[in-house]
Each structure stands twice: as structure tokens, then as C-alpha cells.
């Protein structure tokens, strides 16, 4: 048996007999799980995979675990005097060091694996949607990333243990070196230059984990970790060897060892610099939450011809850079495979690529935007507005297809949310999205003699609080009878607006009484149950949120009449038994033959459904649901968006499930592991 293996087994055996190991492992599991539960909550709807969230939760605690497990591997031998017995065996110091390092590393691997296993099992039970598209294999890059960091943390901790005779001092030194200096330094840097956060990007250790956990492996990063780990193991090994070099005879050996350590430090630094300069990146497909492009996007890409330049105008250090790059490359590949548009991708860093950056600024692009260029035409898409499939496809469409403007009329004068209002309760965000989709937003006041214009694709009643007058209701009624289209966001079941008008068209607002529905705040509703309707079908698997939900039921007018007079009521989204969004259509059967435009109304039971505040605060499918409604009502059914934004994390956990999930991963699993390790240690202790 090789000395390395013997020492490795001994290190693990010793750890098993210590109560502190049980505390370390149990504490590590509880802390990582608590942070994971917290981060999972915060990352709901964010562009992250659950594997990245898990890795980012484990990563900050790994240095502490390594420091705790390695603190006495050498210091105990030094303090007790057993070092003499070890050094008189025919084993090299580096073999001892490697064996001890591997022992500590193995324990870190096992602890991390336990964290991974408990997390995956708990997610599978409580939040299977979070694992959708990731799977166990998707965690592999995250696990590898953590292991790579652990190698360095263990090496540093073993080195510190060889320097200090007291285990506590070794642990403190390790924690200072691994957590205090990097994270404290980072905090100091941000405190010193708070405005520089965007330029600095993520803290470098966290950025490594997030990058690698999403499949991007950089040779420079990987080699840097390995080189630095080797250096610290060399330090540990030489430090142990120094025990032999007491006295005058050992002076030259001490000097040569110190010189070797300095040279090794310089060499390691140079190698790290070199490998980072000659960096090459490997982008593994595993670990990504990539969904297929929708039929609409594929249609746009395949029908468009010629060449288009898409430029990502963003600093490379920006946290979104990698994800956007990956998305754009996927779009490029998809287009090439469809034999349609030839997309030329460019990345311009405003800090480094000054020439191209200046050109983009002249085009009107600000830092942090995507620029779509075709010939002399261009579309600038600020990334703050999102860069998902739908928006990018619309931008491509607007450059490659002749413009077809459709007018959306927003009613005013009854306390409706305004499409020009930029505040929290305004609708400017969704209006801008509509404009991107090719719609023209117009306001209409029906109070005067104004009639609904013939170029009206649909009217939007966005949460009217006051009753429409008889004349206004009559105008809307006439418009609808002539095959008009209306989208209603209802403030409350008994409020004014058009609520009185709806029963005549098959819709009866009611209180949304639900039992067992998911909620975040207690008053809102998280709805994930969608019907097979053209509006809601593409949103299967996603969630919409209604702040103050109103329900709908079919009125007496619905499901009556025959032929062109028949009104069909279709639920779109349900929360328990309550229908919170519904569509009615009249004349659907006869329309195709008689060229009668069918009347359509879509009602959503929440006035604030797509208000700016709602869209900014929560990551949900509200925006897509609304745009689907508009597409359906305006008759561009084929352009219904898929709603599939890339890499969006959806757990679907409500408050109760979240509590159960946290209880299992933070409480139960760590406690069981703690008890098991405690029992093992107690058994060994009792024997002695």
C-alpha cells in the first residue's frame, strides 16, 4: 500500500473519531441548505439554472469546511510530537502531505455530495419544475466547479495546518486567507467604488462558480486553481521538511527551502498569469436550461433571408454577458439550421473595443444593448428591457419583413392605467413591447362623440374604475357586434368600467374564491394551470401572478344561440376552481365561410396584471400572456409568442411548500447526518 493511501485512510479514520467532524458536516449542510433556500426564493424567475443557485450557495461555505476539517492534520502531529515518528519512516514529506490533503478533500467531496443529493431529492419532491431541463447531469459542472475550488481550499488549509502548531490558529489563518482577504477585499473595493460594481462584475470566486456551473470552463481558471493548489501543497510539504532542519547544519537547507518557496511562488504567479492570457474556453451544453425555439421564432428565422449583424454591446465582465452570448449563438445556430437568415454575431466591449463602440454609440445604442443591423436599418434593444426569444425575434422580424402596423386603442377617462404612464402603476413597459411587436398604441376617449375607428385592431380597457356611460357602452357594444375585439383588465368584480357590459357578452365577473391555490403574499395568486386555448397553450409550464384576482364565470348569454350568434366561453387560466382569465368568441363557426369577423373578448381578472411595477418586481409570464392576448385579439394568431424566455428558473413553490422544503433540507437532512457522525465518533470514543 502506498504511503499516500495509508495517510489518506488514516486522515479519514481520525476525522471519523472526532465529534467536531459531525459538527462541521452537519453545520455545513445546514448552512448551505439555508442559503440555497434563500437564494432559490430570490432567484425565482431569474436567468439562472437551479444548479448555479446550488453551487453559489455551497461555494461560500466550502473554505470554512476545508479549514475546519484540515486544521489539525499537521498541527496535531506537530503539537503532540508524533511528527518525529512520522519523519523517521521511509516516507517523503510530500507523500504525507498529499495523503492528508486527499483525506481532507475526500471529506469535503462527501459533504458536498450529501448537500447535492439532499438538494436534488428535496427539489424532486417539492419543486420538480425547478429541475426541469436540468436533471442530475446538469449539476455535474456545478459539482466540478465546487470540487476545483475545494482542491485549492484544502491545499491552503493543509498548508496553514503545517505552519501553525495550534489547530485553532491554523483554522483562523485559513479562514482569513480563504474568506477574510478575498471577500473582505471585495467588500472594501465595492465600498471604495460603489459605482464600479457593473464594471467589476461578480466577485471573482463567485463568478468562477457561476460560470463553470453553467458549463463554461476556462482553461485559465482551471489551471490557475490547480497551479495554486500545487503551490500550497509544496508549501505544506516543505514546511514539514523544515522540522528536520534545526541547528546550524540545517541552516543551508532552511535557506534553500525558503528560496525554493519564493521561487515556487513567483513561478506559480507567472504560470497563473500565462494561463489566463492564453485562456481558452470550453462551453459544455450540460447544465443549461435551454428550451426549443417557438414555431413563431423559427418561422421568422426561416422566412427571413440575407444577412444580419447582431452586436452585443456589453462589457465582458457584465454578469449577463455569457448568458446573452450563449442565447445569441443558439439563435445563430437555429437560423443556420433552418437555412434562413445568416446571422453575424459580434461582441463589443465598451471598455476595450473603442472603435466599434463609438460606431454603435453613433447608431444610438447605449452600453448594455443589443443592436440588430440589416443593411442601413437597425434596431437597438436595451438589455434592461429583456433579451428573450420573443423580443429578439420581433426585432429580427421588424428588420426583415415589411411593416404592418395595427392600432391598439387604450380607453381613457375612467381611471384606467395609461399606456404613456411611466410610473409603477402605468403601462408604458407593455406598451413599448406592443410597439416592438408592430402595434401602434393610441388613446381613445369615448366620452365625446368619438366613434371607435375602423382601423382599430382592438381596444384595451386597463382597469377602469368608473362606469362607462350608457353612450360609451353603446359604442363599445356596437363595435363588438361588428366583430370588434376587446381586452379587459378588470379591477374588481363589482367595480365599474365595462363590468356591467360583460354579462351580455357571455362573461360574468365574480369573486375569485380559491382553495389550495398558490400564493406568495396571501392576497395574490400564482397561476400555472392553463387551458389548450391559443393564448394560454404556449405558456404551459410557466406561471402568471395576479395581485388582486377577479374570477369569471360564463353568463346566461354564453353557450346560447346557434351558428353565428353562439357565444363560446373558454377559460384561459385557472386557480383551483376559479377562472381568472377567460376568452369569449361569437361567430366562430360561421366566420370562415361567411367572412364574418368573429367578435372576441379576453378578460383578465387583475387590473395591475401588466403594470410597470408588476412587470419589474416579479419574474412571471404576465407579459407573454398579455401579448398573446393582443396577438389573438388582433387576429395574428400565428404570431402568438411561446413565452419561453431562456434560462428562467421556476420553482412553483408556494409559501407552505417553501417552508416544507426548507425544513427538510435545512433541518432534517443535516440533523440526520450530524447524528450519524456523532454516533460513529461516540462509538470510537467509547471504545477508547
Amino acid at each position: 500500500m502506498s504511503p499516500v493511501r495509508v495517510t489518506w485512510r488514516r486522515t479519514i479514520g481520525r476525522a471519523r473519531s472526532l465529534f467536531s467532524t459531525a459538527f462541521a458536516a452537519g453545520g455545513f449542510l445546514a448552512a448551505t441548505a439555508a442559503l440555497f433556500a434563500f437564494k432559490l426564493d430570490a432567484a425565482e424567475g431569474a436567468s439562472l439554472s437551479v444548479a448555479s443557485v446550488w453551487a453559489a450557495s455551497v461555494s461560500p461555505f466550502l473554505p470554512a469546511l476545508a479549514a475546519f476539517l484540515a486544521m489539525d492534520v499537521w498541527s496535531d502531529e506537530l503539537q503532540s510530537g508524533r511528527i518525529e515518528l512520522l519523519l523517521t519512516t521511509p516516507v517523503r514529506e510530500r507523500e504525507f502531505t498529499l495523503g492528508k490533503f486527499l483525506g481532507v478533500f475526500s471529506m469535503v467531496v462527501v459533504s458536498t455530495f450529501l448537500s447535492f443529493a439532499s438538494t436534488v431529492v428535496a427539489l424532486r419532491v417539492y419543486a420538480p419544475s425547478a429541475l426541469a431541463g436540468v436533471g442530475v447531469l446538469g449539476f455535474c459542472p456545478a459539482f466540478l466547479a465546487l470540487m476545483l475550488q475545494s482542491v485549492l481550499w484544502c491545499a491552503v488549509s493543509v498548508a496553514m495546518s503545517s505552519i501553525f502548531r495550534h489547530a485553532a490558529a491554523a483554522a483562523c489563518a485559513s479562514l482569513l486567507l480563504l474568506i477574510g482577504i478575498p471577500r473582505g477585499g471585495w467588500a472594501a473595493l465595492l465600498a471604495w467604488a460603489p459605482q464600479g460594481r457593473t464594471a467589476f462584475g461578480e466577485m471573482i470566486l463567485d463568478a468562477h462558480v457561476i460560470d463553470m456551473s453553467s458549463g463554461l470552463f476556462s482553461s485559465g481558471t482551471v489551471l490557475s486553481y490547480l497551479v495554486l493548489s500545487s503551490f500550497f501543497l509544496f508549501v505544506a510539504s516543505k514546511n514539514v521538511a523544515m522540522c528536520r532542519y534545526c541547528g546550524r547544519g540545517g541552516r543551508s537547507l532552511r535557506l534553500s527551502t525558503a528560496f525554493a518557496l519564493i521561487l515556487a511562488g513567483i513561478f506559480s504567479g507567472l504560470v497563473v498569469e500565462l494561463v489566463n492570457r492564453l485562456d481558452s474556453k470550453l462551453d459544455l451544453p450540460v447544465g443549461n436550461l435551454e428550451t426549443e425555439f417557438s414555431a413563431r421564432t423559427r418561422g421568422i428565422l426561416s422566412s427571413a433571408q440575407g444577412e444580419m449583424t447582431v452586436t452585443c454591446f456589453l462589457p465582458r465582465k457584465d454578469a449577463r454577458f455569457r448568458q446573452i452570448g450563449r442565447f445569441l449563438r443558439r439563435l445563430q445556430r437555429e437560423s443556420a439550421s433552418l437555412g434562413g437568415l445568416k446571422i453575424d454575431l459580434r461582441f463589443v466591449d465598451p471598455l476595450w473595443d473603442l472603435g466599434p463602440a463609438e460606431r454603435l454609440v453613433r447608431l444610438g445604442a447605449a452600453e448594455g444593448s443589443l443592436v440588430f443591423e440589416k443593411g442601413r436599418r437597425n434596431v437597438v434593444l436595451p438589455l434592461a428591457d429583456g433579451y428573450g426569444e420573443r423580443i429578439c425575434a420581433s426585432s429580427i422580424q421588424s428588420l426583415t419583413m415589411p411593416p404592418q402596423r395595427r392600432n391598439v386603442y387604450w380607453t381613457v377617462g375612467h381611471g384606467e392605467a395609461a399606456s404613456e404612464e411611466y410610473g409603477t402603476f402605468g403601462m408604458s413597459d407593455i406598451a413599448r413591447d406592443l410597439a416592438r411587436e408592430g402595434y401602434r398604441n393610441m388613446s381613445i376617449d369615448l366620452a365625446g362623440d368619438a366613434q371607435i375607428p375602423s382601423d382599430c385592431a382592438l381596444i384595451v380597457v386597463a382597469g377602469a374604475k368608473e362606469d362607462f356611460s350608457r353612450a360609451e357602452s353603446g359604442r363599445i357594444d356596437s363595435y363588438l357586434r361588428a366583430g370588434g375585439r376587446m381586452l379587459v383588465l378588470l379591477a374588481a368584480a363589482d367595480s365599474g368600467g365595462v363590468a356591467q357590459l360583460l354579462p351580455g357578452w357571455g362573461l360574468r365577473p365574480s369573486l375569485a374564491t380559491t382553495t389550495g391555490a398558490k400564493t406568495l403574499s396571501g392576497t395574490d395568486l400564482i397561476v400555472g394551470e392553463f387551458s389548450e386555448h391559443a393564448i394560454s397553450k404556449p405558456l404551459q409550464g410557466s406561471r402568471i401572478v395576479l395581485e388582486r384576482p377577479v374570477g369569471f364565470m360564463p353568463s346566461a348569454a354564453a353557450e346560447t344561440g346557434t351558428g353565428a350568434d353562439r357565444i363560446e366561453f373558454t377559460p384561459l387560466a385557472k386557480a383551483g376552481t376559479a377562472v381568472v382569465a377567460a376568452a369569449v368568441e361569437r361567430g366562430v363557426g360561421a366566420g370562415a365561410d361567411l367572412s364574418i369577423r368573429p367578435m372576441r373578448i379576453v378578460a383578465i381578472g387583475d387590473a395591475g396584471f401588466v403594470m410597470n411595477g408588476q412587470l419589474a418586481a416579479r419574474a412571471n409570464a404576465n407579459r407573454d400572456f398579455f401579448l398573446n392576448c393582443v396577438a389573438y385579439l388582433s387576429g395574428t394568431d400565428a404570431s402568438v409568442a411561446s413565452g419561453a424566455e431562456t434560462n428562467v428558473l421556476t420553482t412553483g413553490l408556494d409559501r407552505a411548500a417553501r417552508i416544507r422544503f426548507a425544513t427538510v433540507v435545512v433541518g432534517a437532512v443535516p440533523f440526520v447526518v450530524f447524528l450519524l457522525l456523532l454516533a460513529v465518533a461516540a462509538r470510537r470514543r467509547r471504545r477508547s
Partner: protein, 236 residues
Amino acid sequence: MFEVRNIAFTYRKKQVLRDVSFVVSPGEVVCVIGANGAGKTTLLKVLATLAAPDSGVVMVDGQNALAKPLRYRRQLGYLPERVALYEEMTVKEYLNYRAALKGEPVKRIRRRVDEACEMCKVSEFLRSPIGSLSAGLKKRVALADALLLRPRVLLLDDFLAGLDSDMRETAGAVLSNAAAFSSVIATGHELDDLAKWATRFFILRDGVISASVSAVGVDRSSLRGRIATALKGSVS
């Protein structure tokens, strides 16, 4: 043949060993005695490669042992003055671990451990945790560790300290047995006990071997007298 030539060692400007030279033949039990601070432990540490000498060489069968330390350590058994073992391990676990560490093949470890335990009379404690043993037994376990691979050179530092008379007898018997395959160099203060098994005494004073007293064919009282004289200063 184990030979020490002109070993010198200085620690913090104090010359602890000066020009120490001697030869130990196989089968010999050499005891190094001297007052506290004379340099006995330092000498054994130098011989055990735990300290680098200022000058001098250690030869084993005509080869410079310090030039090839790994090879030398394979032939070395060392019992330090302060016995520190792994308290949570059983005797068997500890000796297995040490034998494996010394490079003994797995299939021979059991035999080696049994032999060493038999020799040191700790076989009945094989399954006992070291933490539960008395200091004397721990010393015997440490001795078994030193004897595990039947070393060519056995270095025992103050190995009788803290042992009662029965234990000393046992340890002495072990020493006699070990001499069959080792060149034994032991240090200590227990002159009466050491005289029973030693073949030669080196008197170490102020880092110099001031006298060498043969114990073969000399009766105990006369040997004690000669050593006492040597310790007082007369060089023989």
C-alpha cells in the same frame, strides 16, 4: 556495521555535539549515558534523521546513510523520548498503520505485527484502544512499533523512563532479543538496568563522548564504578 563519524551539531550558537564518533557492530547493545543536557537525545535525533548535523557522516554497511535518507529510514527503528501515539486507535490498528507506512506489503503486515507484539508482550492488548493503556504499556507499544520491521538500527531514547521494575525487565528482554538483528543504541539514566543488557557504554559529556566502557565480562559493581568514574570526568 553502524558507524558514526565526527558528528557535530550546533543549536542556537550552542555546540550540542562535538566530533562524536563510534562504531556499533550487529548484535551490540550500546548505551549512551550522560547528565541531562549532555546531548543524548540530540545525538539520537541526528542519527534518526530528525536533525541535520553540522558535519559528520553516518555509515551503514559502509554506505553514507544520510545521503540516502529514505533507504536508511527503512532500516531504522526509533523510539522517541516522549511517546505520543494515536489514542483513539487500537494497538492493532496503530501497528498495522505504522507497518503500512513503513512500506511493508499488506500480506506480511499481520505477521510482522504479531511478531513485534509477541516480542514486546502486548499481544493481549491488540484490541485495546491505546488511550486506555498505561504509560508503560504505551511505551511497549511504541517499542513494538520501533521493532516492527526488524530494523538494522534501533534507536531508543530514554526508553526505560517511567517504567516500573517489571516493565523494565520486559523491556530489557526485548532489547536483548532485538540485538539479534539490530545494532541497538539506547540512552537512559537507569544504569543498573541498562548494565544488564548493554555490551558497551558511551559516556557523553558536553557533547563529546568522553569515555567508552565495555560491559562484556565485567561484573556489575566494577562496571558501575568505572562508569561513575567516567561520568565524573576521568577518560578511559
